[in-house]
């Protein structure tokens, strides 16, 4: 009797997930979205627990307790660590799908019809490869593993071969479900391929990779839905899959790259050779005192934050500077490049955490037309996304990448530790412009001094 209500609970859950994502479109409704999403999940869990097939709740209860105990600290990580946390949770999600697929296979093989086997193979393949790939991405973001791309001759051929054999064993299993011994080959190769896929990818491409893995984890869940003939899983998985897809397309566009180029192009490598051999050019450097003087004369300032700002933990000092400038009647806005930070939208979260109002954060397309009217563009810890070479130097590896038109501001002020090139290893010609003032030093200390000098001068 009670189990007749289960489909209704599942439909309720599916509707909640869709509403949750819909309400996430604006800041004012977003929190409501999270609550509705959580309620939908509660419905789905409650509905599943009511299923008559469940013999015992003992291990489920244990898993609930353990999962909650690990989940809570994972929700309390600092905002700078959100990208690696996200990679880790992609790994957990994908592993869950792969393990369920494995269990289903050994419970029912060889009595599995072709279509179910096809979905199961897809679930296990995507699940295991996303699991190890996400762990690798986690390692690179956490800097346990080298963030530089690691490449060797024949790497792509080897990777394609591994994937090819994995897909072929999957296809064979679909044709001959009694070939049970092929299943570990499929799973093992998927695990290896996940590792191999991330080895040649550099730290700068992580925003794209994380988004792509997000998509894969969702597709693995949708495949599970086909195996279990459960529409709720299919819907939730499809939503997640499309979200990851959109985000990775946005990230690719923001870097003027294609998927294939991100996955098989091994970025940083090419650049290490360019720019070398150029002679030293002169830069204008300024003290925080001089820089503060320039700010005092300004009426419009656009701050361009990059991940370097977060590495230096300078967000809160930047907020103090924002407060001081705003109090002096200066219009301050923040220009956010889509790949600022290490995952889509990361910079917004970092600045919001530092209590900078979100209506001061402006996306690239919107803010670019405003740079010519800006008195000062203050670049803190951003590099490649401000390099004018992307607009005109066809030899530059970043040629064609959309950038923030920082060089059009009346004065450009760059806070930087030294003249060393950035994440992608490219020299930035912005630093050699006549209108550019370089303020060398640790971002946190320099911005702190700027605040002091600015307050002292007014």
């Amino acid at each position: 009797m009670i189990d007749r209500a289960i489909p209704l609970l599942y439909i309720g859950a599916a509707a909640s997930f869709i509403l949750a994502l819909k309400w996430l479109s604006t800041v004012t409704t977003a929190r409501r979205g999270v609550v509705v999403g959580a309620a939908g999940m509660a419905l789905a869990v409650a509905g599943t627990l009511m299923k008559p097939e469940i013999e015992s709740y003992r291990w489920i209860a244990v898993a609930f307790v353990v999962g909650t105990a690990i989940g809570i600290p994972m929700a309390l990580m600092p905002m700078t660590a959100v990208p690696q946390r996200t990679a880790l949770s992609h790994a957990f999600g994908a592993l869950a799908a792969a393990l369920v697929g494995t269990a289903e296979f050994y419970l029912h093989a060889p009595a599995i019809d072709r279509f179910t086997m096809g979905a199961l193979v897809l679930e296990v393949l995507l699940g295991f490869l996303t699991f190890t790939a996400s762990l690798m991405a986690f390692g690179k973001l956490q800097e346990i593993l080298p963030t530089r791309p690691i490449t060797w001759r024949g790497q792509n051929i080897l990777n394609f071969a591994i994937l090819g054999v994995a897909v072929a064993s999957g296809a064979y299993l679909v044709a001959r479900p009694d070939a049970i011994r092929l299943f570990p080959v499929l799973g093992g190769l998927a695990l290896v391929f996940g590792v191999m896929l991330i080895i040649p990818i550099g730290g700068a491409d992580m925003p794209t990779v994380i988004s792509l893995l997000n998509s894969y984890a969702g597709l693995a869940a949708a495949a599970m839905g086909f195996v279990l003939d459960n529409k709720l899983l299919i819907i939730a998985g499809a939503l997640d899959g499309s979200s990851g897809l959109i985000l990775s397309v946005i990230m690719c566009r923001a870097m003027n790259r294609s998927f294939t180029n991100v996955l098989f192009g091994a970025f940083g490598q090419v650049q290490a050779t360019t720019g070398a051999g150029e002679e030293q050019r002169a830069v204008r450097s300024a003290t925080p005192e001089e820089a503060a003087g320039v700010l005092q004369a300004a009426s419009r300032v656009i701050v361009v934050p990059g991940y370097g700002m977060a590495v230096a933990q300078a967000q809160h000092k930047v907020r103090e500077l924002y407060d001081a400038l705003t109090k002096a009647g200066i219009d301050v806005r923040f220009a956010i490049h889509p790949v600022a930070g290490r995952m889509p939208g990361h910079m917004n979260v970092l600045l919001a955490e530092a209590n900078i109002p979100y209506d001061r954060l402006v996306e690239m397309e919107e803010v670019n037309s405003d740079f010519p009217q800006a008195d000062v563009a203050l670049v803190i810890g951003a590099n490649d996304v401000t390099n004018p070479a992307a607009r005109h130097d066809t030899n530059s590896p970043i040629y064609g990448m959309p950038i923030l038109d920082v060089d059009k501001a009346r004065t450009v002020m760059v806070i930087k530790r030294s003249m060393s090139p950035g994440f992608a290893g490219i020299d930035n010609e912005l630093y050699y412009l006549d209108r550019t003032l370089m303020v060398f030093g640790d971002a946190k200390a320099v911005v702190g001094n700027l605040v002091k000098e600015f307050a002292g001068g007014t």
Binding site: K22, R31, V35, A44, A75, S89, Y106, I234, S243
Partner: protein, 98 residues
């Protein structure tokens, strides 16, 4: 093609298009919370995990199922909580964070 498969494919295609439409409208400001929320939603794998863990058909399936429930639960608890935490940080000019 079996009827349930056909319906399943319809559902998948429609849900993908719906997802693309809804997610295109999410402000880039919120792309990080978006990813953590969709991550929490994809922990719907808990449905399959609970069944495998609870049916107790074999030791292997119970062990794998229990592990899968644990993984899914981590993402549910961690995902919704951190998304909520992030969104609480966003405030408008002139208003202090509550």
């Amino acid at each position: 093609m079996s009827p349930s498969l056909e319906v399943g494919l319809y559902v998948f295609v429609l849900a993908t298009f719906l997802g693309l439409e809804i997610i295109r409208r999410v402000s880039p400001l919120l792309h990080t919370p978006l990813m953590s929320l969709t991550n929490a939603i994809s922990a719907i794998t808990i449905v399959g995990s609970i069944l495998v863990a609870g049916e107790q058909k074999s030791t292997l399936s119970t062990v794998l199922g229990t592990l899968a429930v644990t993984c899914s639960m981590i993402n549910i608890v961690g995902g919704y909580l951190i998304t909520y935490r992030m969104l609480r940080m966003f405030r408008k000019s002139g208003k202090d964070r509550r």
